[in-house]
Chain length 491, copies 2
Amino acid sequence: MSALSDLLAFQKETEALSAIAGRLEWDQETMMPEGAAEQRSEEHAALSSVLHARRIDPRIGDWLEQARGEAQSEAQTAMLRHIRRDYDKTQKVPARLAAEIARVTSVAQGKWAAARAADDFKAFLPWLEQVVSLRQEEGEALADGGDRYDALIDNYEPDMTAAQLGQMFGTMRPRLTALREQVLDRPEPAGLSGSFATDKQMEFTRALAVAFGYDLTRGRLDLSVHPFSSGSGSDVRITTRVSEDDPFNCFYSTIHEVGHACYEQGIDPAYALTPLGHGVSMGVHESQSRIYENQLGRSRAFAGWMFDQMKALFGDIGVADADAFYRAVNRVRKDFIRTESDELQYNLHIMLRFDLERALVSGDLAPADLETAWNDRFKADFGYEVPRASLGCLQDVHWSVGLFGYFPTYSLGNVYAGCLNEALRRDVPDLDAQLAKGDTTAATTWLRSNLQTHGGLYRPEEVVARACGTAPTAEPLIRYIEDKFTALYGL
Amino acid sequence: MSALSDLLAFQKETEALSAIAGRLEWDQETMMPEGAAEQRSEEHAALSSVLHARRIDPRIGDWLEQARGEAQSEAQTAMLRHIRRDYDKTQKVPARLAAEIARVTSVAQGKWAAARAADDFKAFLPWLEQVVSLRQEEGEALADGGDRYDALIDNYEPDMTAAQLGQMFGTMRPRLTALREQVLDRPEPAGLSGSFATDKQMEFTRALAVAFGYDLTRGRLDLSVHPFSSGSGSDVRITTRVSEDDPFNCFYSTIHEVGHACYEQGIDPAYALTPLGHGVSMGVHESQSRIYENQLGRSRAFAGWMFDQMKALFGDIGVADADAFYRAVNRVRKDFIRTESDELQYNLHIMLRFDLERALVSGDLAPADLETAWNDRFKADFGYEVPRASLGCLQDVHWSVGLFGYFPTYSLGNVYAGCLNEALRRDVPDLDAQLAKGDTTAATTWLRSNLQTHGGLYRPEEVVARACGTAPTAEPLIRYIEDKFTALYGL
C-alpha cells in the first residue's frame, strides 16, 4: 500500500461516517419521535467525536507528506488538495476553541429562537456577543495574518474574498434598488386563490421533482418544518412543506431542493465517498438550486405549463390565464423576510447581512448596535421601517449558530445562476419551447454534464467559468432581473 | 476521574454509536432508496469498523482491572459484569476468525436466498459447510475446553446450556406431538373472509399498538418486508406488514413487535446508554413478544374485544361470533413454515432445529446430510413429507448468517412467557375481564414493573424467576397449551 492509497482509504471511511451523520440529521428532522431528542443529542455527540478525532488524526499529515508526487491523475491531485485544505484548517483552530464554539452555538440557537419568539433582541445579545467573539477568534486563527472575515468566508466558499463580494454587490445594489422602487410603484398582481389540498400538493410536488430530473431511486421526498436537501452520491434526500393556502411555498421549495439534490446526484459516481463527491462550495450549490427554482421554474415558458397542470389538478386557481399565473409566480411585494422574498429583492436582503456581518467580524460594529444598524440599513434600501426584531435582525438562524461568511454565498449562487442561465440559453436556443411542455431535460442535462458531474474536481469559480466559457460576473444576473421585471411590470 | 467513570463514559459513547448502527439498519429496511444499497454497505462497514475497534480497545481491560472494587451499587456491578463478559469474548476470538465470519456470512446469506428460491439445497451446501466450520471454530475458541454449542448459545442467552434446553424440550415434545395429533383429527375451523383494505389495517394495527402500551412519542410504526423492532431507550421503532387477504398477519406481527418494543421502552431510564439499557437476552426478549402476542393477544377475552372492533371497522369478516373468531385466531393447520405456525406446533419446529444444529456444531451431523435429517425428523414429528427444500431446511435465514444457538431462544421465550402468564394471572385475578374490554393496562404494567424495568440488571433466568417468584420450568407453558387447545377443539 502506498501513502496515497492509505490516505484515500482512511478518507473513504471518514466520508462514509460523515454520510451517516448527515442521515442522522435527516432522520431528526423527518422521522425521529419527539421523545428521542435527548438520546439523539448523545448519539450525535458520539459520532461527532469520532469524526473529529479522524479529522485531526496526525497520520493524515504524515500521509500527505509521503504522498507528494504520488497523485496519478487530475482527480487524485484535487482529492489531495481538499484533504490538505481541511487538515490545515483543523491544525490552525485550537481544540479548546473548536469545542467552545460547538458548546456556545448549540445553546445560542435555543436562545435565539426564544428571543425571536419574544421579539427581544436584548435577550439574544449576550449570546450574539459570545458567538461573534468566538468566530473572530477562529477567523484570526485561520487567517494567518490575513483578513479574518475572508478566512470565515473560505469555510463555505473556498478562495472567495470579502473584497470580491463587496465589488460584486457594489455593482448590483444601485440597479436593484432603483428597479425595486419602480416595480413597487406599479399595481400589485393578484395571487392564487382556491382549494389546495395537502395530498394533491404532494402529488404535484412529486411530479415537479421528477420533471426536474430528481432520481427517486436514489432519493426520497418527505415533509419537514424547513425544507432541505441532504446526502450525496446514491442517497440524496429532500424535504418540502405544505401550506394549504399557498401552494407555491411547497412547489418552489421542492424545485429549489431538487436543484441541490440533482447537483449531488449528478456528480461522477467515480467520486463517491471521496472529497470530490460533494458539491464544491455553498455558492455553486446555491447556483443549482436557484437556476432550477428561478431561471427555469419561474420562467414564463415553464409557468405556462405549470398553470395548465395546476388547473387540471386543482380546478379554479383564481388566475385567469398563463400570463396572470406568471405574474403571480413572480409577484414583488413589500415585505421583511429574506426567505419569502422574490428574485428582485432577495439580493438586497443578502447585501444588508453581508455588510453587517463583515462589520461585526472586523469589530467595526458592536453586537449591541446591530439592531439599530439593521433597521437603518433596511430603511435605506427598502424604504420602510422594521416594526419588530423578528421581522428584522432576529429573522435568520444563521448568526446564532455561528454562520458568519455564509450569507453572501446565497447571492453568489444567484450570480452564478445568472451566468449559467446565459450560457445554457446560448447552447440550447429552443429551451423555452421545451420548458413550455414541462420538459427540463435539455436544461438539466446541460447543467449535469457541464457542471454537476465535476463535484469537487475544480475550484468553485473555475467550475462555473468552465461551464460558461467565461469568468463569472454579476452582469448576466442583473440583466436577467432587469429584463424580466421590466417586462413583467410594463416599465 | 476514576477508572470506573472513564470506563462507563467510554461505554456510553459505544452504546450511542451502536444505537446509530441500529437506526441505520432500520433506515435500510424502511426508508432507504433502492439505489443506495451499495453506498450503504460502505457506510455500514465504516461504522462496524469503528465499533469493533472500540470493543477490542485494550483500555477496556485496563479499566476493568483498575475498577475492581469501585462499583458502588448493584447496577454498577451488573454493568461491569456485562462489559467484562463482552470484552472477554472479543479477546477469545481471533481477529482473523471474526473477519472471516463476517465475510463468509455476508456472502452466504445471498447464496441461501438464491438456493431457497431455486429449491436447491446442494447449491447452498458449500456455504453451509463454511459457516458451520467457522462457527465450530468460534465455539471452540469461546468454550475454554467446554462444549462449543454451549458457547454459541451463550452469545444469545447468557448462562443457558444445551443440556438444560435438551431437558426442557424432552418434557415438551411427547406431550405436544400427542396433542397435535388429536387436534389435527378434528375439523379445521374457518378463517376470516372479507375486505381488509391496507389503510384500515394500518389504522387498526396502530390502535392495537397503543392498546398494548406502545409509546409512539418514543417510537414509530412503519412498513417493511419482515416486521421487526429496533432501538432502545427513547427511540424504539417497530415495523409491520400488510397482506390484504390476511389481516391477522399484520395485527399479530404488530402485537409481537410491540412486546419487544415495550420491553425496551419499559427499561429504567437511568440505564439508558449503559449495558443495562437493553433487553437482557434473546429468550427474555422473546418472552415479552410472545406473551403480548399469544397469552394476551390470542386469549378468548381479548379476541372478543378484537372481534367487535374488526366488525365495526371492516364490516362482515366472515365469522359469525366471537367464539368463531377466537377459533380463527388460534387455528392449527398442517403446514411446513415455522414463522406461520401456531402456539401448539411452534415449539416442535424449534426442537427440530435445536437437535439438528446441535449435531451440526458437534460434528455428529455432516452438513451434506442436513436435508435428509431434516426431512426424516419432520416426518417423525409432523407426520408428513417435506416436498421441497424451501419448505424444509432452507426456509430460515438463520444458519446462512451463522446464527447457531439462536433458535432455542424462541422456545425459551415461550416457556418464560408461560411462567409469566401464570404469575400475572395469579396477581391480576380479573385480567380476562379487562382484556375483554381491550384494556391491557394491568398486564403491561405488571410486566413492566416486574420484569421490563430491570433491563440487564439481573441474569436472564433470574429476572424471570424474580418476576414469577419461582424458577422457570416448561410446565406452565405446556399446561397452558394443553388447556387452551383441548377446550378450543372440544377434546
